[in-house]
């Protein structure tokens, strides 16, 4: 059967082009790979190569024709022994002989199937926190110890878990979070890396793609900006790009946000940044118990988890239940204190301002419900909405920059889902819209403070 040669698409966006020149004429024999014509697109002049062998039977579109639509037959190729008479019923090479019947609407075109409605994003429901059996001993533990214990327990439990990062082994961690791990697990599983964040983050993702479960420690998250391409383009997207065949079951962890007086390049919060990325989970604990339970969950999670710690919280102590295996659900907020007059939502170090503000407000007779978000992505909006339905007022507190912040995201969602319940505009307390200054007085001004939170709650209560 003669074969129709179609006008080819020579770029992802080309819809038509000019057939500027025929290199072969009617009657010429062509082999696959021979240049048969030249086509001009909006970007360049391209050569068209023959795919099949045969003799050019007829040229359908003369040289010089403009606006030739992609997929228009431009010539007919005769195969061995065929004469020009056979051209009556040419066969298009592209068309499979027995194309399965497809409903017109579903037939894939170059632009994809005809518009189907966008399916709703699936609802994720996080489990509730596990019950802590009555009589469980509560042990005062620093966040630092809680994080270390979480890693040690998971490394005992699962041989595929290992830790890598700068100074994590022999130095025992720049902030001593990996203290003792080298001694217990050895240099095979507790690995000092050179100062090469982009490289070792990629090495971690590669190892994770084979099913190992790396914990990649960044000395601070400021330095993870060197590695952010591997985190977002490799770790977060592989599962999707591979159609679910492989992903990156791993944790990227380290201190995040401002420490003290370390200035602009070492003081920023990445909660809002990573929270934008589908394919990541983002956890930012405040208490030691949450740090432990959520880090254990993050290590077990089959997805890449960004685990944002804070240097100032490392040394703070909280009660942690003494249980064999204390794991908390990622994606579930925790009500830190129940209340009726207004809701504050915060997370991580932001909670330190919120907790103090709540105590001050209590003295003034304002009963605040304080929610610790704990996970930034997926975000537990239902818990917030339920609280706002009760209190009608909402203030968010965080240290990060104010534009496109976690707080503004919460405000948007609450406005969409609980508009009728709001009695006042939502206020968002954040760090100031400036790089972190070094001078002690300016640094204080750049960070949120308890007074601002107290004032914001009074404002939404019209007091």
């Amino acid at each position: 059967m003669p074969i129709e040669i179609l006008m080819p698409a020579l770029s992802p966006t080309m819809e038509e082009g000019t057939l500027s020149k025929w290199v072969k004429n009617e009657g010429d024999a062509v082999k696959s790979g021979d240049v048969i014509a030249e086509i001009e697109t909006d970007k360049a002049t391209m050569e068209v190569e023959a795919v099949d062998e045969g003799v050019i039977g007829k040229i359908l579109i003369p040289a010089g024709s403009e606006g030739v639509k992609v997929n228009t037959p431009i010539a007919v190729l005769l195969q061995d022994g065929e004469s020009a008479d056979a051209m009556a019923a040419p066969k298009t090479a592209e068309k499979p002989a027995e194309a399965p019947k497809v409903e017109e609407a579903e037939k894939p075109t170059r632009q994809g199937s005809a518009a189907a409605p966008v399916p709703a994003a699936p609802k994720v429901e996080a489990a509730a926190d596990p019950d802590i059996p009555a009589g469980t001993e509560m042990v005062m533990t620093t966040v630092r110890e809680a994080l270390r214990d979480a890693m040690a327990e998971e490394m005992r439990r699962d041989e595929s878990v290992f830790v890598m990062g700068e100074e994590v082994a022999e130095y025992q961690g720049a902030y001593k979070i990996t203290q003792g791990l080298l001694q217990e697990f050895g240099a095979r599983r507790v690995i000092d890396t050179p100062i090469t964040e982009h490289g070792f983050a990629g090495v971690g993702v590669g190892a994770a793609m084979t099913g190992l479960k790396p914990i990649v420690e960044f000395m601070t998250f400021n330095f993870a900006m060197q590695a952010i391409d591997q985190i977002i383009n490799s770790a977060a997207k592989t599962l999707y790009m591979s159609g679910g065949q492989m992903g990156a079951p791993m944790v990227f962890r380290g201190p995040n946000g401002a420490a003290a007086r370390v200035a602009a390049q070492h003081s920023q919060c990445y909660a809002a940044w990573y929270s934008q990325i589908p394919g990541l989970k983002v956890v930012m604990p405040y208490t030691a118990a949450d740090a432990k339970g959520l880090l254990k969950a993050a290590i077990r999670d089959p997805n890449p988890v960004i685990f944002l710690e804070n240097e100032i919280l490392y040394g703070q102590s909280f009660e942690v239940p003494k249980m064999d295996d204390f794991v908390l659900p990622i994606g579930k907020a925790r009500i830190h204190k129940k209340g009726n007059d207004a809701t504050i939502v915060s997370f991580g170090i932001g909670m330190t301002y919120a907790v103090k503000a709540v105590a001050e407000l209590e003295k003034e007779g304002i009963d605040v419900e304080l929610i610790d978000l704990r996970t930034i992505r997926p975000m537990d909006i239902p818990t917030i909405v339920e609280s706002v339905r009760k209190t009608g007022r909402l203030v968010t507190v965080e240290e990060g920059y104010p534009q496109s912040s976690v707080g503004t995201e919460i405000a948007t969602r609450v406005m969409q889902q609980a508009f009728d319940y709001l009695d006042a505009p939502i206020l968002t307390i954040a760090g100031k819209d400036v790089p972190m200054p070094y001078a002690a007085n300016l640094e204080k001004l750049a960070l949120p403070n308890v007074g601002e939170v107290v004032q914001a709650v009074k404002t939404v209560c019209y007091k």
């Binding site: 100074e167 090469t196 200035a263 602009a264 790089p435 300016l442």
Partner: protein, 348 residues
Amino acid sequence: MAPRKTASTSSRKTAAKPAKKDFNGGIIADFSKEDDLKAYREMLLIRRFEEKAGQLYGMGFIGGFCHLYIGQEAVVVGMQLALKDGDQVITGYRDHGHMLACGMSPRGVMAELTGRRGGLSKGKGGSMHMFSKEKNFYGGHGIVGAQVSLGTGLAFANRYRGNDNVSLAYFGDGAANQGQVYESFNMAALWKLPVVYIIENNRYAMGTAVSRASAQTDFSQRGASFGIPGYQVDGMDVRAVKAAADEAVEHCRSGKGPIILEMLTYRYRGHSMSDPAKYRSKDEVQKMRSEHDPIEQVRARLLERKWASEDDLKQIDKEVRDIVADSADFAQSDPEPDASELYTDILL
């Protein structure tokens, strides 16, 4: 006073024959009395300044990270002797010595360390982030390795403008493993950019000894695959540094492209003020101090050659101490920046 040109044969030998790592094999430039006195004074200023900064940190006047340069003074002082007006300098966070060597005011540096309005960045940058357009000092960078690309960009600008200025990009042995260093090497070699890459190999990156982080510990050869020549230099001997600097700067100025100088040096203090430095023995530090101290070497030479008496040196010492004391007084009494500075200098 203009530094005397060193005998070109001896300086050439320094560059061509790598100094041995025991710090003894390097070939050195002849230093005149003036050279030695100038180097002595400048190194001493850095040493005393850093000691004072350490003290003020302990007293709570300086916060955050503070990385002292004590032990490495000969590197920056020797390099600086080879520069001419318009040549640029850029480095990382261990930057106080570089700024003083570039002629930036001790008061301005110290007041920045205490976060006061008279600081070189108005108190907003702190120890790791200071700049001086006037002195062609381009920072002061907190992200390990970032200054290497930036320093390459300074050289690019010189090429672009068609001047014969050279940029010096300083970085550590740890920084030398960062990916952007090699991306920069490639562009610098490809475009023949006038940049001297100075790797200050002080044997440790925080707590990690060079051999635990680097597959190839001869950093002078890190440019080999780009055809960038490199030399190891005794970075504890200011004369060796100066000789290599002359050679390297001339190489760049004459259009031959980038060059690498690996300075074999040592930091006496911890990585930063909060590093207990348990990863090395006290003996190791003590041995380096007593046998290779860059300032003591010059001091001994000045006395031995009778270029200065003990009294002359005491006088220099006093002058240096006065400068440092003045900067410390200023840095403690200068007011903090005005609150309105919070929102300035973000955009133009």
